[in-house]
Protein backbone atom coordinates (compact mmCIF):
# COMPACT_ATOMS: atom_id res chain seq x y z
CA UNK A 1 0.00 0.00 0.00
CA UNK A 2 1.21 3.51 -0.66
CA UNK A 3 2.97 5.39 2.10
CA UNK A 4 2.22 8.84 0.74
CA UNK A 5 -0.29 10.16 -1.78
CA UNK A 6 -0.15 13.59 -3.38
CA UNK A 7 -3.57 15.13 -4.03
CA UNK A 8 -3.46 17.06 -7.30
CA UNK A 9 -6.67 18.99 -6.84
CA UNK A 10 -8.44 21.42 -4.54
CA UNK A 11 -11.72 22.16 -2.81
CA UNK A 12 -14.13 19.50 -1.68
CA UNK A 13 -12.62 16.66 -3.71
CA UNK A 14 -9.15 17.26 -2.31
CA UNK A 15 -10.63 17.03 1.16
CA UNK A 16 -12.48 13.86 0.11
CA UNK A 17 -9.28 12.19 -1.06
CA UNK A 18 -7.38 13.33 2.03
CA UNK A 19 -10.05 11.77 4.27
CA UNK A 20 -9.91 8.41 2.48
CA UNK A 21 -6.10 8.34 2.61
CA UNK A 22 -6.03 9.33 6.27
CA UNK A 23 -8.39 6.47 7.12
CA UNK A 24 -6.10 4.07 5.26
CA UNK A 25 -3.06 5.28 7.20
CA UNK A 26 -1.58 6.93 4.12
CA UNK A 27 0.23 10.26 4.46
CA UNK A 28 -1.12 13.06 2.31
CA UNK A 29 0.51 15.90 0.43
CA UNK A 30 -1.70 18.83 -0.54
CA UNK A 31 -0.47 20.90 -3.45
CA UNK A 32 -2.12 24.28 -3.73
CA UNK A 33 -2.00 27.69 -5.31
CA UNK A 34 -1.42 30.82 -3.24
CA UNK A 35 -5.19 31.43 -3.40
CA UNK A 36 -5.73 28.22 -1.47
CA UNK A 37 -3.22 28.82 1.35
CA UNK A 38 -6.01 28.60 3.93
CA UNK A 39 -8.02 25.82 2.30
CA UNK A 40 -9.30 23.17 4.70
CA UNK A 41 -7.55 20.25 3.05
CA UNK A 42 -4.25 22.16 3.04
CA UNK A 43 -4.64 22.70 6.76
CA UNK A 44 -5.44 19.05 7.42
CA UNK A 45 -2.96 17.35 5.07
CA UNK A 46 0.25 15.96 6.54
CA UNK A 47 2.31 18.11 4.20
CA UNK A 48 1.54 20.90 1.81
CA UNK A 49 3.44 22.43 -1.07
CA UNK A 50 2.54 25.71 -2.69
CA UNK A 51 2.91 25.16 -6.42
CA UNK A 52 1.99 28.46 -7.99
CA UNK A 53 -0.08 31.62 -8.21
CA UNK A 54 -3.90 31.51 -8.33
CA UNK A 55 -4.37 30.88 -12.06
CA UNK A 56 -5.12 27.20 -12.65
CA UNK A 57 -2.82 27.14 -15.66
CA UNK A 58 0.10 28.04 -13.38
CA UNK A 59 -0.88 25.82 -10.47
CA UNK A 60 -3.43 23.00 -10.65
CA UNK A 61 -2.76 22.48 -14.35
CA UNK A 62 0.99 22.94 -13.94
CA UNK A 63 2.24 19.40 -14.50
CA UNK A 64 5.90 20.19 -13.86
CA UNK A 65 5.16 21.88 -10.54
CA UNK A 66 2.97 19.01 -9.39
CA UNK A 67 5.51 16.36 -10.35
CA UNK A 68 8.27 18.37 -8.65
CA UNK A 69 6.18 18.62 -5.52
CA UNK A 70 5.69 14.85 -5.60
CA UNK A 71 9.44 14.36 -6.03
CA UNK A 72 10.47 16.59 -3.16
CA UNK A 73 7.91 15.08 -0.78
CA UNK A 74 8.60 11.51 -1.82
CA UNK A 75 4.99 10.72 -2.79
CA UNK A 76 4.33 7.20 -4.10
CA UNK A 77 1.16 8.03 -5.93
CA UNK A 78 -0.92 10.93 -7.18
CA UNK A 79 -4.71 11.18 -7.03
CA UNK A 80 -5.92 13.66 -9.65
CA UNK A 81 -9.48 14.16 -8.33
CA UNK A 82 -11.89 15.29 -11.07
CA UNK A 83 -11.44 18.09 -13.61
CA UNK A 84 -7.96 19.66 -13.90
CA UNK A 85 -5.49 16.93 -14.94
CA UNK A 86 -7.66 13.91 -14.09
CA UNK A 87 -8.33 13.08 -17.76
CA UNK A 88 -4.98 14.28 -19.12
CA UNK A 89 -3.29 11.19 -20.54
CA UNK A 90 0.04 13.01 -20.84
CA UNK A 91 -0.01 13.81 -17.16
CA UNK A 92 -0.86 10.21 -16.26
CA UNK A 93 2.07 9.06 -18.38
CA UNK A 94 4.39 11.60 -16.79
CA UNK A 95 3.41 10.44 -13.31
CA UNK A 96 4.17 6.85 -14.21
CA UNK A 97 7.42 7.81 -15.95
CA UNK A 98 8.54 9.34 -12.66
CA UNK A 99 7.98 6.07 -10.86
CA UNK A 100 4.73 7.00 -9.16
CA UNK A 101 1.30 5.46 -9.47
CA UNK A 102 -1.46 7.47 -11.12
CA UNK A 103 -4.61 6.67 -9.15
CA UNK A 104 -6.91 6.20 -12.08
CA UNK A 105 -7.21 4.39 -15.39
CA UNK A 106 -4.33 3.72 -17.76
CA UNK A 107 -3.11 6.60 -19.96
CA UNK A 108 -4.18 4.59 -23.02
CA UNK A 109 -7.80 4.36 -21.86
CA UNK A 110 -7.84 8.00 -20.81
CA UNK A 111 -6.68 8.90 -24.30
CA UNK A 112 -9.18 6.56 -25.97
CA UNK A 113 -12.19 7.90 -24.10
CA UNK A 114 -11.01 11.49 -24.50
CA UNK A 115 -11.52 11.12 -28.24
CA UNK A 116 -15.31 10.84 -28.41
CA UNK A 117 -15.27 9.16 -31.82
CA UNK A 118 -12.74 6.54 -30.73
CA UNK A 119 -14.76 5.96 -27.57
CA UNK A 120 -17.97 5.28 -29.50
CA UNK A 121 -16.06 3.05 -31.88
CA UNK A 122 -14.66 0.99 -29.03
CA UNK A 123 -18.08 0.72 -27.38
CA UNK A 124 -19.74 -0.27 -30.63
CA UNK A 125 -17.27 -3.11 -31.10
CA UNK A 126 -17.88 -4.20 -27.51
CA UNK A 127 -21.65 -4.39 -28.02
CA UNK A 128 -22.70 -1.36 -25.97
CA UNK A 129 -25.85 0.33 -27.37
CA UNK A 130 -25.16 3.65 -29.06
CA UNK A 131 -27.11 6.63 -30.29
CA UNK A 132 -27.55 6.14 -34.04
CA UNK A 133 -25.11 8.35 -35.91
CA UNK A 134 -22.08 8.66 -38.14
CA UNK A 135 -19.52 5.88 -37.93
CA UNK A 136 -16.62 8.27 -37.61
CA UNK A 137 -15.69 11.86 -38.25
CA UNK A 138 -17.65 13.71 -40.90
CA UNK A 139 -15.15 14.84 -43.49
CA UNK A 140 -17.51 16.72 -45.79
CA UNK A 141 -20.90 18.35 -45.70
CA UNK A 142 -22.15 15.80 -48.25
CA UNK A 143 -21.27 13.04 -45.83
CA UNK A 144 -23.12 14.87 -43.07
CA UNK A 145 -26.22 15.17 -45.25
CA UNK A 146 -26.12 11.49 -46.16
CA UNK A 147 -25.91 10.39 -42.52
CA UNK A 148 -28.68 12.79 -41.49
CA UNK A 149 -30.99 11.40 -44.17
CA UNK A 150 -30.28 7.92 -42.92
CA UNK A 151 -30.78 8.47 -39.18
CA UNK A 152 -33.50 11.10 -39.70
CA UNK A 153 -33.77 14.62 -38.30
CA UNK A 154 -33.38 16.20 -35.85
CA UNK A 155 -29.62 15.59 -35.65
CA UNK A 156 -26.80 16.76 -33.44
CA UNK A 157 -23.32 17.66 -34.70
CA UNK A 158 -20.74 17.08 -31.96
CA UNK A 159 -17.03 17.89 -31.54
CA UNK A 160 -14.87 14.77 -31.29
CA UNK A 161 -12.55 16.60 -28.90
CA UNK A 162 -15.43 18.00 -26.88
CA UNK A 163 -17.44 16.26 -24.24
CA UNK A 164 -19.42 17.40 -21.22
CA UNK A 165 -21.94 19.09 -23.43
CA UNK A 166 -19.48 21.38 -25.16
CA UNK A 167 -19.19 21.82 -28.91
CA UNK A 168 -22.67 20.65 -30.00
CA UNK A 169 -25.05 22.08 -32.59
CA UNK A 170 -28.60 20.93 -33.42
CA UNK A 171 -30.04 20.78 -36.91
CA UNK A 172 -33.79 20.19 -36.82
CA UNK A 173 -34.21 19.92 -40.56
CA UNK A 174 -32.17 19.72 -43.77
CA UNK A 175 -32.21 23.51 -44.15
CA UNK A 176 -30.36 23.93 -40.83
CA UNK A 177 -27.74 21.29 -41.49
CA UNK A 178 -25.17 23.24 -43.46
CA UNK A 179 -24.90 26.05 -40.93
CA UNK A 180 -24.84 23.65 -37.98
CA UNK A 181 -22.08 21.64 -39.62
CA UNK A 182 -19.85 24.58 -40.49
CA UNK A 183 -20.34 26.42 -37.19
CA UNK A 184 -19.71 23.26 -35.17
CA UNK A 185 -16.42 22.69 -36.98
CA UNK A 186 -15.29 26.29 -36.51
CA UNK A 187 -16.22 26.34 -32.82
CA UNK A 188 -14.55 23.01 -32.24
CA UNK A 189 -11.35 24.20 -33.86
CA UNK A 190 -11.37 27.35 -31.74
CA UNK A 191 -12.19 25.63 -28.46
CA UNK A 192 -10.30 22.35 -28.75
CA UNK A 193 -7.79 22.94 -31.54
CA UNK A 194 -9.40 20.15 -33.56
CA UNK A 195 -12.30 20.51 -35.98
CA UNK A 196 -13.30 16.83 -36.16
CA UNK A 197 -17.04 16.47 -35.77
CA UNK A 198 -19.45 13.55 -35.83
CA UNK A 199 -23.21 13.23 -35.89
CA UNK A 200 -25.80 11.66 -33.63
CA UNK A 201 -29.55 11.45 -33.69
CA UNK A 202 -30.91 14.22 -31.50
CA UNK A 203 -33.11 12.82 -28.75
CA UNK A 204 -35.72 15.37 -27.78
CA UNK A 205 -36.62 14.21 -24.26
CA UNK A 206 -33.94 11.91 -22.91
CA UNK A 207 -32.80 11.32 -19.37
CA UNK A 208 -29.10 11.26 -18.57
CA UNK A 209 -28.36 7.96 -16.84
CA UNK A 210 -24.80 6.90 -16.10
CA UNK A 211 -23.25 3.70 -14.76
CA UNK A 212 -20.46 3.58 -12.18
CA UNK A 213 -17.86 0.91 -12.79
CA UNK A 214 -14.76 -0.18 -10.93
CA UNK A 215 -12.12 -2.55 -12.28
CA UNK A 216 -8.95 -3.85 -10.66
CA UNK A 217 -5.66 -4.56 -12.40
CA UNK A 218 -6.40 -8.29 -12.45
CA UNK A 219 -9.41 -8.35 -14.76
CA UNK A 220 -12.19 -8.14 -12.17
CA UNK A 221 -14.89 -5.61 -13.04
CA UNK A 222 -18.06 -4.67 -11.19
CA UNK A 223 -20.68 -1.98 -11.60
CA UNK A 224 -22.16 0.00 -8.74
CA UNK A 225 -25.42 0.82 -10.42
CA UNK A 226 -26.72 3.92 -12.10
CA UNK A 227 -27.10 7.59 -11.34
CA UNK A 228 -29.77 9.78 -12.91
CA UNK A 229 -28.18 13.15 -13.66
CA UNK A 230 -30.90 14.61 -15.87
CA UNK A 231 -31.27 17.79 -13.83
CA UNK A 232 -28.84 20.00 -15.72
CA UNK A 233 -28.56 23.62 -16.61
CA UNK A 234 -26.28 24.44 -19.56
CA UNK A 235 -24.92 20.90 -19.39
CA UNK A 236 -23.90 21.34 -15.75
CA UNK A 237 -25.47 18.85 -13.35
CA UNK A 238 -27.24 20.30 -10.33
CA UNK A 239 -28.98 17.35 -8.72
CA UNK A 240 -28.18 13.66 -9.05
CA UNK A 241 -29.98 10.55 -7.83
CA UNK A 242 -29.01 6.95 -7.20
CA UNK A 243 -30.90 5.02 -8.54
CA UNK A 244 -32.87 6.50 -11.39
CA UNK A 245 -36.58 6.98 -10.62
CA UNK A 246 -37.43 5.32 -13.94
CA UNK A 247 -35.30 2.19 -13.90
CA UNK A 248 -36.17 -1.18 -12.45
CA UNK A 249 -33.60 -3.41 -10.77
CA UNK A 250 -33.81 -5.72 -13.78
CA UNK A 251 -33.04 -2.90 -16.22
CA UNK A 252 -30.09 -1.86 -14.05
CA UNK A 253 -28.73 -5.42 -13.91
CA UNK A 254 -29.12 -5.74 -17.65
CA UNK A 255 -27.27 -2.56 -18.54
CA UNK A 256 -24.72 -3.26 -15.83
CA UNK A 257 -23.94 -6.65 -17.33
CA UNK A 258 -23.43 -5.13 -20.79
CA UNK A 259 -21.17 -2.46 -19.39
CA UNK A 260 -18.99 -4.75 -17.26
CA UNK A 261 -18.59 -7.18 -20.15
CA UNK A 262 -17.44 -4.32 -22.36
CA UNK A 263 -14.92 -3.05 -19.84
CA UNK A 264 -13.60 -6.51 -19.21
CA UNK A 265 -13.06 -6.73 -22.95
CA UNK A 266 -11.15 -3.45 -22.85
CA UNK A 267 -8.95 -4.45 -19.94
CA UNK A 268 -10.04 -1.29 -18.15
CA UNK A 269 -8.54 -0.40 -14.76
CA UNK A 270 -9.78 1.70 -11.84
CA UNK A 271 -12.90 3.88 -11.75
CA UNK A 272 -15.00 4.92 -14.70
CA UNK A 273 -18.47 6.12 -15.58
CA UNK A 274 -20.36 5.37 -18.79
CA UNK A 275 -22.89 8.04 -19.68
CA UNK A 276 -26.06 7.18 -21.55
CA UNK A 277 -29.10 8.95 -22.85
CA UNK A 278 -32.26 7.03 -22.05
CA UNK A 279 -35.45 7.58 -24.02
CA UNK A 280 -38.46 5.31 -24.54
CA UNK A 281 -36.81 2.50 -22.65
CA UNK A 282 -33.68 2.58 -24.83
CA UNK A 283 -30.13 3.31 -23.68
CA UNK A 284 -27.66 5.09 -25.97
CA UNK A 285 -24.01 5.47 -25.00
CA UNK A 286 -22.71 9.00 -25.41
CA UNK A 287 -19.37 9.09 -23.61
CA UNK A 288 -17.21 7.62 -20.89
CA UNK A 289 -15.48 9.53 -18.10
CA UNK A 290 -12.21 7.94 -17.06
CA UNK A 291 -12.13 9.39 -13.56
CA UNK A 292 -14.04 9.72 -10.32
CA UNK A 293 -17.15 11.89 -10.79
CA UNK A 294 -18.41 14.77 -8.71
CA UNK A 295 -21.61 12.87 -7.90
CA UNK A 296 -19.91 9.69 -6.71
CA UNK A 297 -21.33 10.09 -3.15
CA UNK A 298 -24.86 9.04 -4.11
CA UNK A 299 -23.50 5.71 -5.33
CA UNK A 300 -21.47 5.35 -2.14
CA UNK A 301 -24.56 5.87 0.01
CA UNK A 302 -26.67 3.32 -1.86
CA UNK A 303 -23.97 0.67 -2.21
CA UNK A 304 -22.21 1.27 1.09
CA UNK A 305 -18.81 1.58 -0.61
CA UNK A 306 -15.95 4.08 -0.44
CA UNK A 307 -15.11 4.62 -4.10
CA UNK A 308 -11.99 6.67 -3.38
CA UNK A 309 -10.56 3.94 -1.18
CA UNK A 310 -11.32 1.42 -3.90
CA UNK A 311 -9.42 3.59 -6.37
CA UNK A 312 -6.42 3.73 -4.06
CA UNK A 313 -6.50 0.00 -3.28
CA UNK A 314 -6.71 -0.86 -6.97
CA UNK A 315 -3.90 1.51 -7.91
CA UNK A 316 -1.76 -0.18 -5.24
CA UNK A 317 -2.36 -3.50 -6.99
CA UNK A 318 -4.99 -5.01 -4.71
CA UNK A 319 -7.81 -7.15 -6.04
CA UNK A 320 -11.42 -5.95 -5.78
CA UNK A 321 -12.09 -8.87 -3.45
CA UNK A 322 -15.78 -9.10 -4.26
CA UNK A 323 -18.00 -10.10 -7.17
CA UNK A 324 -21.07 -8.47 -8.73
CA UNK A 325 -23.57 -10.49 -6.73
CA UNK A 326 -21.97 -9.17 -3.54
CA UNK A 327 -22.74 -5.57 -4.56
CA UNK A 328 -25.98 -4.62 -2.82
CA UNK A 329 -28.23 -1.67 -3.50
CA UNK A 330 -30.07 -0.28 -0.53
CA UNK A 331 -32.43 2.68 -0.48
CA UNK A 332 -32.13 5.87 -2.47
CA UNK A 333 -29.72 8.80 -2.41
CA UNK A 334 -29.91 12.34 -3.77
CA UNK A 335 -27.16 14.94 -4.08
CA UNK A 336 -27.51 18.70 -4.45
CA UNK A 337 -24.52 20.56 -5.86
CA UNK A 338 -24.41 23.86 -4.01
CA UNK A 339 -22.51 26.53 -5.86
CA UNK A 340 -21.38 30.04 -4.95
CA UNK A 341 -23.74 31.69 -7.43
CA UNK A 342 -26.82 33.83 -7.33
CA UNK A 343 -29.73 31.35 -7.20
CA UNK A 344 -31.61 33.21 -9.92
CA UNK A 345 -29.05 34.87 -12.18
CA UNK A 346 -26.20 32.37 -11.59
CA UNK A 347 -23.74 35.25 -11.38
CA UNK A 348 -20.71 33.95 -9.45
CA UNK A 349 -20.54 35.02 -5.81
CA UNK A 350 -17.07 34.38 -4.36
CA UNK A 351 -16.09 35.97 -1.05
CA UNK A 352 -15.92 35.43 2.67
CA UNK A 353 -18.30 32.96 4.29
CA UNK A 354 -18.90 34.52 7.66
CA UNK A 355 -21.16 31.74 8.90
CA UNK A 356 -21.23 28.13 7.78
CA UNK A 357 -23.43 25.51 9.38
CA UNK A 358 -23.76 22.05 7.86
CA UNK A 359 -26.94 20.01 8.35
CA UNK A 360 -26.70 16.71 10.19
CA UNK A 361 -28.70 13.77 11.34
CA UNK A 362 -29.31 10.25 10.10
CA UNK A 363 -28.63 9.79 6.41
CA UNK A 364 -27.17 13.26 5.81
CA UNK A 365 -23.69 13.80 4.38
CA UNK A 366 -22.03 17.04 3.37
CA UNK A 367 -18.87 17.03 1.25
CA UNK A 368 -17.54 20.55 1.45
CA UNK A 369 -14.35 22.46 2.11
CA UNK A 370 -16.23 25.39 3.58
CA UNK A 371 -15.79 26.63 7.13
CA UNK A 372 -16.83 29.78 8.96
CA UNK A 373 -14.40 32.52 8.00
CA UNK A 374 -13.26 30.84 4.78
CA UNK A 375 -12.94 33.00 1.70
CA UNK A 376 -14.13 31.34 -1.52
CA UNK A 377 -11.58 32.41 -4.15
CA UNK A 378 -12.84 33.72 -7.50
CA UNK A 379 -10.37 31.80 -9.66
CA UNK A 380 -11.96 28.36 -9.75
CA UNK A 381 -15.30 26.69 -10.39
CA UNK A 382 -18.10 27.65 -8.07
CA UNK A 383 -18.95 24.33 -6.40
CA UNK A 384 -18.71 24.87 -2.65
CA UNK A 385 -20.66 21.99 -1.15
CA UNK A 386 -22.38 18.73 -2.00
CA UNK A 387 -25.35 17.94 0.21
CA UNK A 388 -26.10 14.23 -0.04
CA UNK A 389 -28.97 12.42 1.66
CA UNK A 390 -29.89 8.77 1.84
CA UNK A 391 -33.29 7.29 2.66
CA UNK A 392 -34.80 3.86 2.64
CA UNK A 393 -37.10 5.01 -0.14
CA UNK A 394 -37.00 7.90 -2.59
CA UNK A 395 -39.83 9.56 -0.68
CA UNK A 396 -37.87 9.43 2.56
CA UNK A 397 -34.77 10.77 0.81
CA UNK A 398 -36.77 13.71 -0.52
CA UNK A 399 -38.22 14.51 2.90
CA UNK A 400 -34.74 14.28 4.39
CA UNK A 401 -33.32 16.52 1.66
CA UNK A 402 -35.97 19.17 2.30
CA UNK A 403 -35.19 19.10 6.00
CA UNK A 404 -31.40 19.20 5.48
CA UNK A 405 -31.54 22.03 2.94
CA UNK A 406 -33.54 24.09 5.43
CA UNK A 407 -30.94 23.52 8.15
CA UNK A 408 -27.94 24.44 6.02
CA UNK A 409 -26.47 27.91 6.43
CA UNK A 410 -23.91 29.52 4.15
CA UNK A 411 -23.92 33.23 4.75
CA UNK A 412 -21.69 35.97 3.45
CA UNK A 413 -21.91 34.76 -0.14
CA UNK A 414 -24.84 33.87 -2.37
CA UNK A 415 -25.44 30.21 -3.04
CA UNK A 416 -27.90 28.09 -4.99
CA UNK A 417 -29.41 26.72 -1.76
CA UNK A 418 -32.73 28.51 -2.38
CA UNK A 419 -32.90 27.08 -5.91
CA UNK A 420 -32.39 23.56 -4.60
CA UNK A 421 -35.15 24.11 -2.07
CA UNK A 422 -37.50 25.11 -4.88
CA UNK A 423 -36.51 22.10 -6.99
CA UNK A 424 -37.09 19.65 -4.15
CA UNK A 425 -40.52 21.18 -3.47
CA UNK A 426 -41.65 20.78 -7.07
CA UNK A 427 -44.30 18.10 -7.78
CA UNK A 428 -42.69 16.99 -11.05
CA UNK A 429 -39.35 16.49 -9.36
CA UNK A 430 -41.06 14.61 -6.56
CA UNK A 431 -42.78 12.39 -9.11
CA UNK A 432 -39.41 11.76 -10.77
CA UNK A 433 -40.82 13.07 -14.03
CA UNK A 434 -38.04 15.03 -15.67
CA UNK A 435 -35.75 14.90 -18.67
CA UNK A 436 -32.51 16.75 -19.41
CA UNK A 437 -34.53 19.79 -20.51
CA UNK A 438 -36.65 20.03 -17.36
CA UNK A 439 -34.38 22.16 -15.21
CA UNK A 440 -33.76 24.82 -17.87
CA UNK A 441 -37.52 25.21 -18.24
CA UNK A 442 -37.97 25.26 -14.46
CA UNK A 443 -35.39 28.01 -14.07
CA UNK A 444 -36.64 30.11 -16.97
CA UNK A 445 -40.22 30.11 -15.67
CA UNK A 446 -38.86 31.15 -12.27
CA UNK A 447 -40.00 27.89 -10.72
Amino acid sequence: MFGKVLIANRGEIALRVHRACQEMGIQTVAVHSTADNTAMHVRLADESVCIGPPAARDSYLNMAAIISAAAITGADAIHPGYGFLSENANFAEMVEAHGMAFIGPSPAHIRMMGDKIAAKDAMRRLGVPLVPGSLGALETFEEARAVAEQILYPVLIKAAAGGGGRGMKVARGPDELEEAFRVARAESKAAFGDDSVYMEKYLDRPRHIEMQVMADNHGDVVHFGERDCSLQRRHQKLVEEAGSPVLSAAERDDLGAQVTTALRGLGYRNAGTLEFLWQDGQFSFIEMNTRLQVEHPVTEMVCNVDLVKEQVRIAAGERLGYTQDQVRFSGHAIECRITAEDPETFVPSPGRVDMYHAPGGLGVRVDSALYSGYTVPPHYDSLVAKLVVHGQTRAEAIARLKRALAEMVVSGIKTTLPLHQRIVADPEFQAGEYTIHWLEKFVSRGG
Binding site: N37, S48, S59, S68
Partner: protein, 151 residues
Protein backbone atom coordinates in the same frame (compact mmCIF):
# COMPACT_ATOMS: atom_id res chain seq x y z
CA UNK B 1 -4.88 14.50 32.29
CA UNK B 2 -1.79 13.26 34.18
CA UNK B 3 1.48 12.09 32.74
CA UNK B 4 1.41 14.29 29.66
CA UNK B 5 5.01 15.13 28.84
CA UNK B 6 5.71 18.63 27.74
CA UNK B 7 8.52 21.10 28.04
CA UNK B 8 7.44 24.36 29.71
CA UNK B 9 10.60 26.07 28.53
CA UNK B 10 9.80 25.14 24.92
CA UNK B 11 6.30 26.53 25.25
CA UNK B 12 7.57 29.78 26.76
CA UNK B 13 10.09 30.03 23.96
CA UNK B 14 7.38 29.48 21.34
CA UNK B 15 5.16 32.09 22.96
CA UNK B 16 8.08 34.53 22.86
CA UNK B 17 8.62 33.79 19.16
CA UNK B 18 4.90 34.41 18.53
CA UNK B 19 5.04 37.83 20.11
CA UNK B 20 8.31 38.84 18.47
CA UNK B 21 7.32 37.83 14.98
CA UNK B 22 3.61 38.78 15.00
CA UNK B 23 2.65 35.21 14.14
CA UNK B 24 -0.64 33.96 15.56
CA UNK B 25 0.03 30.24 15.60
CA UNK B 26 3.01 27.87 15.75
CA UNK B 27 2.62 24.11 15.55
CA UNK B 28 5.49 21.66 16.09
CA UNK B 29 5.15 18.04 15.05
CA UNK B 30 7.56 15.27 15.98
CA UNK B 31 6.29 11.76 15.23
CA UNK B 32 3.42 11.41 17.71
CA UNK B 33 4.02 14.59 19.65
CA UNK B 34 2.40 17.84 18.63
CA UNK B 35 2.55 21.23 20.29
CA UNK B 36 0.47 24.16 19.10
CA UNK B 37 0.70 27.63 20.52
CA UNK B 38 -1.79 30.18 19.28
CA UNK B 39 -3.11 33.60 20.04
CA UNK B 40 -6.00 35.69 18.73
CA UNK B 41 -5.30 38.61 16.47
CA UNK B 42 -7.36 39.78 13.51
CA UNK B 43 -4.47 39.09 11.09
CA UNK B 44 -4.71 35.75 9.30
CA UNK B 45 -1.70 33.55 10.03
CA UNK B 46 0.32 31.72 7.40
CA UNK B 47 0.36 28.10 8.46
CA UNK B 48 3.51 26.03 8.85
CA UNK B 49 4.56 24.38 5.60
CA UNK B 50 6.30 21.05 5.06
CA UNK B 51 7.51 19.33 8.20
CA UNK B 52 11.22 19.19 7.34
CA UNK B 53 12.99 18.18 10.56
CA UNK B 54 16.08 20.37 10.97
CA UNK B 55 17.77 19.52 14.27
CA UNK B 56 19.06 22.65 16.04
CA UNK B 57 22.26 21.97 17.98
CA UNK B 58 20.91 22.62 21.48
CA UNK B 59 17.18 22.26 20.99
CA UNK B 60 15.41 19.66 23.12
CA UNK B 61 12.81 18.93 20.43
CA UNK B 62 13.18 18.85 16.63
CA UNK B 63 11.78 21.96 15.06
CA UNK B 64 9.47 21.92 12.05
CA UNK B 65 10.14 24.43 9.28
CA UNK B 66 8.33 27.66 10.16
CA UNK B 67 7.50 30.21 7.48
CA UNK B 68 7.39 33.59 9.19
CA UNK B 69 4.98 36.10 7.66
CA UNK B 70 7.64 38.81 8.02
CA UNK B 71 10.19 37.05 5.75
CA UNK B 72 8.00 36.77 2.65
CA UNK B 73 6.70 40.31 3.12
CA UNK B 74 10.17 41.82 3.47
CA UNK B 75 10.78 44.28 0.61
CA UNK B 76 14.15 42.64 -0.14
CA UNK B 77 12.83 39.09 -0.12
CA UNK B 78 13.71 36.87 -3.06
CA UNK B 79 10.94 34.29 -3.26
CA UNK B 80 10.93 31.02 -5.14
CA UNK B 81 9.18 31.10 -8.53
CA UNK B 82 8.83 27.33 -8.58
CA UNK B 83 8.75 24.03 -6.73
CA UNK B 84 12.02 22.14 -6.43
CA UNK B 85 15.21 21.60 -4.47
CA UNK B 86 17.42 24.61 -3.76
CA UNK B 87 21.19 24.48 -4.07
CA UNK B 88 23.50 27.28 -2.97
CA UNK B 89 26.55 26.16 -4.99
CA UNK B 90 26.95 25.46 -8.72
CA UNK B 91 27.95 21.89 -7.86
CA UNK B 92 28.59 19.83 -4.72
CA UNK B 93 31.81 20.87 -3.00
CA UNK B 94 32.13 24.12 -4.95
CA UNK B 95 31.98 27.51 -3.28
CA UNK B 96 28.47 28.92 -2.88
CA UNK B 97 27.23 31.49 -5.40
CA UNK B 98 26.98 34.16 -2.71
CA UNK B 99 27.97 34.56 0.93
CA UNK B 100 26.21 36.42 3.68
CA UNK B 101 27.08 40.07 3.46
CA UNK B 102 28.18 39.86 -0.17
CA UNK B 103 27.28 42.67 -2.54
CA UNK B 104 25.36 41.42 -5.57
CA UNK B 105 24.46 43.02 -8.87
CA UNK B 106 21.02 42.89 -10.42
CA UNK B 107 20.69 39.66 -12.40
CA UNK B 108 23.49 37.90 -10.55
CA UNK B 109 22.86 34.20 -9.87
CA UNK B 110 22.08 33.68 -6.17
CA UNK B 111 21.19 29.99 -6.13
CA UNK B 112 19.87 27.09 -8.21
CA UNK B 113 16.51 25.36 -7.96
CA UNK B 114 16.39 21.91 -9.44
CA UNK B 115 13.13 20.46 -10.70
CA UNK B 116 12.64 17.43 -12.93
CA UNK B 117 16.38 17.16 -13.55
CA UNK B 118 16.77 20.72 -14.83
CA UNK B 119 18.60 23.39 -12.90
CA UNK B 120 17.13 26.87 -12.88
CA UNK B 121 19.21 29.91 -11.96
CA UNK B 122 17.53 32.22 -9.49
CA UNK B 123 18.79 35.73 -10.04
CA UNK B 124 18.91 38.83 -7.85
CA UNK B 125 15.96 41.08 -8.81
CA UNK B 126 17.92 44.15 -7.79
CA UNK B 127 21.44 45.08 -6.65
CA UNK B 128 22.13 44.95 -2.93
CA UNK B 129 23.68 43.07 -0.04
CA UNK B 130 22.81 39.51 0.95
CA UNK B 131 21.35 40.17 4.40
CA UNK B 132 19.93 36.72 5.12
CA UNK B 133 19.98 33.26 3.56
CA UNK B 134 16.74 31.56 4.59
CA UNK B 135 17.19 28.06 3.25
CA UNK B 136 19.64 25.21 3.68
CA UNK B 137 21.37 23.70 0.64
CA UNK B 138 19.52 20.71 -0.72
CA UNK B 139 16.26 21.67 0.91
CA UNK B 140 12.92 21.45 -0.90
CA UNK B 141 11.23 24.75 -1.64
CA UNK B 142 7.72 25.62 -2.71
CA UNK B 143 6.31 28.39 -4.86
CA UNK B 144 6.50 31.73 -3.07
CA UNK B 145 8.88 30.53 -0.37
CA UNK B 146 11.34 33.22 0.74
CA UNK B 147 14.90 32.18 -0.17
CA UNK B 148 17.10 35.17 0.63
CA UNK B 149 16.80 38.76 1.75
CA UNK B 150 18.71 41.24 -0.42
CA UNK B 151 18.77 44.70 1.07
Amino acid sequence: MSGVQFDPAAIRELAKILRETDLTEIELVDKDARIRVARQITVQAVHATMAAPAAAPTATAPVAAIEAVSDAAHPGAVVSPMVGVAYLSPEPGAAPFVQLGARVAQGQTLLLIEAMKTFNQIRAPRAGVVARILIDPGSPVEYGEPLMIIE
